[in-house]
Amino acid sequence: MSADRVSYTLDSTLETVNNAEETAGRMAAEAGFDDEEIMKISMAVREAAVNAVLHGNAYDPSKKVTLAFELTAQDLVIVIRDQGKGLDVSRIPDPLAADNLMKTSGRGIFLIRSFMDEVQIHPSQTGTELRMIKHVHGNPADSKEAPQ
């Protein structure tokens, strides 16, 4: 099966966050995910877009966000990249720690990791790339009962 891939270059705006979420929901539906999984995928992408627009590009109009979806037989792979200074992964807080529980921010990456099957963060001096994978249901590799 050949892979379907589509990518978008987006401005660093709040509208981009909403568009990314809507597009993710549409892609997830087309991939055959159920409503709950669609919600999780679209929310993960929303949180990733918020990170890219706010924390990465800091609403800088000269900086872009790229969003790519790739659907294979096994996975829906979503990659979002900003042009910021690069996320310091070591400084991502644990929002479940007692000291952080009542903080008003810092839950985005946690939610992304909660909702997706695999998450990889690749920071560099020219931006951060966040790669999220959701396994497609019905994938034989996920099934405990192999077809006869």
Partner: protein, 115 residues
Amino acid sequence: MTMKSSTRQVDGVTIVDLSGRITLGEGSVVLRETVRDLLSKGQKKILLNLGEVNYIDSSGIGELVSAFTTAKNQGGELKLLNLTKKVHDLLQITKLYTVFDVKDDEAVAVKSFTK
């Protein structure tokens, strides 16, 4: 759909009926300003009815935490009513469900506030 907010008084408790999405941008701002406005008027018993809130993101969760803390710091009480499954699940995985006082019956919720 953006968020809508309306308030009503029941036995000294201000019930805020919210509907729509509490997300980064307008939704979070509406919630923040509503709670801030109530507290500034001395209305410190606040029940947020989230029964029609169908979506909340991490910014919205942050606003709920902020509203709860702000009310508490000003000697008030802020409780949550009628969580949808999505909001309930989000508060569970972020371990905030036990932090908030969550009710599912309006009359019981109103009576639970300190007299």
